[in-house]
Amino acid sequence: MNVTFLNPFVEAAYEVLIQETGEKIQRGDLSLENGHYVMDDVTVIIALVGAVEGNVFYSMSESTATHLASKMLGENFSKLDGLAQSGIAELSNVITGRAGMKLAQAGYEVTISPPTLLLGKGATISTLDFPRIIVPLQTLEGDLVIHLAIREGIKPAMKISQMIVPPKV
């Protein structure tokens, strides 16, 4: 398990959740899965491209999602309507963006995709030849689980327009 990629996500989730919900999450035990992921109620998928590539899923039950959305948006959601869904997608986006910044600080430049939100408990998602590191994060109302199906990408060649022009001797 490559901790270089794991820690930025756990730190980012911790920081963002304190900021957005005031909650201090606790990290549960990590596990590794090779087969497909059987979906929980809500899953947000964000892809990474660049020095680290792959897909990151944020999954949780509907009650965890409504709880987090309620705290984030200062509303009292009883079900996961469009606005709450938007909030959860944005939460995942902010966590991934912050993780991306931390990865960049560690020397891994990444670009993240927009988030896609899936609702469909019991359906399966396959990350093909990417094994997934499962990171459960305990909130006051159930777990927010981060699935990392990522690996080191091929480093892109430097663009000619970005090369430093040497000073005239």
């Binding site: 998928i45 670009t111 896609t116 939100l117 899936l118 609702l119 359906a123 998602i125 093909l128 000073p167």
Partner: protein, 173 residues
Amino acid sequence: MDVEMLKPFVEGAAEVLQIEVKTTVDKGNLTLQKSALTTDEVTVMLNLVGDIRGVVLFCLSQETGLKMVSRILEQEFTEFDSMAQSGIAELGNVITGRSTVKLSKAGYRVDISPPTVITGKDVKISTLDFARIVVPLKTELGTIEIHLAIRENKQERLANSDDFAPIIAPQAS
């Protein structure tokens, strides 16, 4: 959404289906969908980053998926196992790859994420504030729907432009 962005996908898909799957392709009418997508049995998802960003979704029935994979891999598939999933993901990847080559000729530099395969009917997929253009492609083996929730990334395009000349501080004389 710019038509210039769509054509490469429609052409790319038709070409790959004709060459790899060896089927005729009949393009149906394009529609715009704003509400969440309700999946068929098999959905391949690929994300795009760069001058164009968003998501590309290929939706098809399991029967069509099995028939296509059987034809591409020249092997009979009766179950949608991990090899079949790999095959259909690769089809999605090749179509998207070919489309991005066409996009680069049109001046758009795009990178594709690794694919994911979603198996399960009636999953709701929301692309939030990105509306989707839906392109139905009818083949001899069934219909594949391509859903494009993409838009131009103007900031990225400027930063990556080769027309940009770095400002060089003048040498102190």
